[in-house]
């Protein structure tokens, strides 16, 4: 019934049962564990957008979201495009380039765990810069409608992401305030 209609289960019973099963699997059935996903989970938990979130929630994101491989030199999105998704680097690195400013061309080089294009979650704004894969990279892509659906259905993940997003933005404002 829980799978058909998304009704809330008693949190304490569900959490206890979940942790008990996880412990049993980790101790006696290590061969059944998905090691690639677990290493991606470590990467994801280090990133600023998902910090402080539980492993179960992060695993849900890794299961639900789409992964895509980019080869070095691939343009992920262009400056000026309408942003509709946020990208998280699982493997490799991505260069953020300002095409309209030739003097200050490379703004950032981002590594595993970092995210870019996060403003797309708030509204459909134009991309401020271009993102280019610097090495062969594996990216996790969260589309805005998925996040909107999370806001309606899963408070734990969406609240966590919103709080972290607010922290990222406030940090940016502090860093760029005139002296």
């Amino acid at each position: 019934m829980f799978f058909i209609i998304n009704i809330a289960r008693s949190p304490s019973v569900a959490v206890e049962f979940y942790s008990m099963i996880t412990q049993i699997v980790r101790r006696y059935f290590t061969w059944t564990l998905d090691t690639t996903r677990e290493s991606h989970l470590q990467t994801l938990s280090k990133g600023p957008l998902f910090k402080g979130m539980g492993k179960k929630l992060l695993r849900k994101l890794l299961i639900d979201l789409v992964e895509k491989k980019y080869t070095a030199g691939d343009i992920i999105f262009h400056e000026g495009e309408i942003g509709k998704a946020v990208y998280v680097i699982l493997e490799g690195s991505v260069k953020i380039v300002k095409e309209s400013n030739p003097e200050n061309k490379t703004l950032h080089v981002l590594g595993p765990g970092s995210q870019f294009g996060e403003l797309a979650l708030i509204g459909q704004t134009s991309r401020f810069a271009t993102a280019v894969a610097e090495q062969d990279s594996l990216l996790l892509i969260m589309y805005k409608s998925y996040f909107d659906d999370l806001l309606r259905r899963n408070n734990a993940i969406s609240t966590g992401i919103l709080l972290n997003l607010a922290e990222i933005l406030s940090d940016y404002i502090h860093r760029n305030q005139p002296e």
Binding site: T22, L33, A131
Partner: protein, 382 residues
């Protein structure tokens, strides 16, 4: 070379020239026509694949729950199948003897039931013969069509036809779990491979299509299950209140039939009316049954569906009826059930693709402006 070309028909360069001269929409229509021909040729396979895809979609949430423990997907799928098989075997051992008995009883009692309905109809015809001769003649015709020597009942209960239909059923019982297993196990791998083929500039559009369809189908299936449950419960309660026999069985039938828009409630109402007719041998309780189903339909349209399915799955009533008729013609009952989500998903996909096209045009027109704009802002969230 020229001779060879004339002998073998159009060469590759000729085909390329023809393709370049053709507008894109002609190619899309041609591709759709070819797809329609293929689909109409392998209807049964498409029905089995669609049924497997729906089952896999529903089971995917179970698999995701197991995966959230950190377990590999393949192990999760095998676990689910082993437990399902054990459950089916146990259910067989416990319930099958009883179900067999019920089915045998039902078949044994079928001539008795049909005689009861026939008697009820004939007694109603006789009692109304003087006042309303039209009713008498219509009922006599109906009895002849349904219960006559070459009538509907005789034809539909022909044992040889039931046996003829058995092989596809056995094939479905083997093929559907087979498809479900591989769809569940390999779906993430297939998605990764498909995403690998998508050019970077189309990634966000393709993901938006996948996400929207996923949300839409999930909402539709969950809503439909809850809607059928609500309608079934209402029908059971209503039939019990107006004193019709077997209210729970009729409620379950009404709930299941409710999957098919428009036609489902008619099926439920007809079955309940037949039972009422057998029970009371009069037309008066039929009015109560029809009124009950009208009230349920109104409640379903005005309250239950907007609450459970929402406005996300919305088709214009005219398109909905056309979808149902075309679905029935192409794929039978399955076409009627699955036509609505498929057409809604197609509608949404076309909307997203058009939006992508508009964005692209807008970007191209503003690109020159962005390139010349002076920017001093340092690194910031993008």
């Amino acid at each position: 070379m020229t001779d060879e070309r004339h002998k073998g028909g159009a060469s590759l360069t000729d085909l390329r020239k023809l393709r370049n001269q053709m507008p894109g929409w002609v190619l899309i229509i041609l591709a759709l026509a070819v797809a329609a021909v293929i689909v109409s040729r392998v209807t049964q396979l498409i029905i089995l694949l669609t049924a497997a895809a729906v089952i896999a979609y529903i089971l995917n949430s179970v698999i995701a729950s197991i995966e959230r423990l950190g377990i590999k997907r393949s192990v999760a799928v095998i676990l689910l199948f082993v437990f399902s098989a054990a459950f089916v075997v146990a259910a067989d051992l416990i319930f099958i003897p009883n179900i067999n008995l019920d089915v045998m009883n039902f078949y044994a009692k079928l001539p008795e039931f049909s005689h009861q309905i026939q008697d009820a109809l004939l007694s109603i015809a006789q009692s109304n013969a003087e006042k309303y001769p039209i009713i008498e003649s219509s009922i006599m015709k109906l009895v002849d069509i349904v219960f006559g020597p070459d009538g509907f009942l005789e034809r539909s209960l022909n044992a040889s036809e039931i046996i003829m239909q058995a092989p596809p059923l056995i094939m479905a019982l083997i093929l559907v779990p087979f498809f479900v297993f591989f769809l569940l196990k390999d779906w993430p791998g297939m998605m990764k491979r498909m995403m690998g083929w998508v050019p970077p500039s189309y990634v966000e559009t393709i993901i938006s299509v996948i996400e929207e369809i996923n949300i839409l189908v999930g909402k539709y299936l969950r809503g439909l299950a809850a809607d059928c449950f609500a309608v079934g419960a209402l029908a059971s309660a209503g039939l019990w209140l107006i004193g019709i026999n077997s209210p729970i069985a009729l409620g379950i039938l009404s709930g299941v039939a409710n999957i098919i828009p428009y036609f489902g409630p008619v099926v439920g109402c007809t079955a309940s009316s037949l039972v009422a007719l057998m029970q009371y041998r009069s037309f008066d309780p039929l009015l109560n049954v029809v009124a009950l189903y009208l009230v349920i339909k109104l409640m379903d349209d005005l309250v239950i569906q907007p609450l459970l399915i929402g406005k996300g799955v919305h088709l214009h009533p005219m398109i909905l009826v056309i979808t149902l008729i075309v679905g029935e013609k192409l794929f039978g009952i399955m076409g009627m059930i699955l036509g609505v989500p498929v057409v809604t998903a197609a509608q949404k996909t076309v909307g997203i693709l058009l939006e992508h096209h508009r964005d692209k045009l807008r970007r191209e027109s503003t690109e020159s402006f962005i390139r010349t704009r002076p920017v001093q802002t340092p690194a910031r969230p993008i």
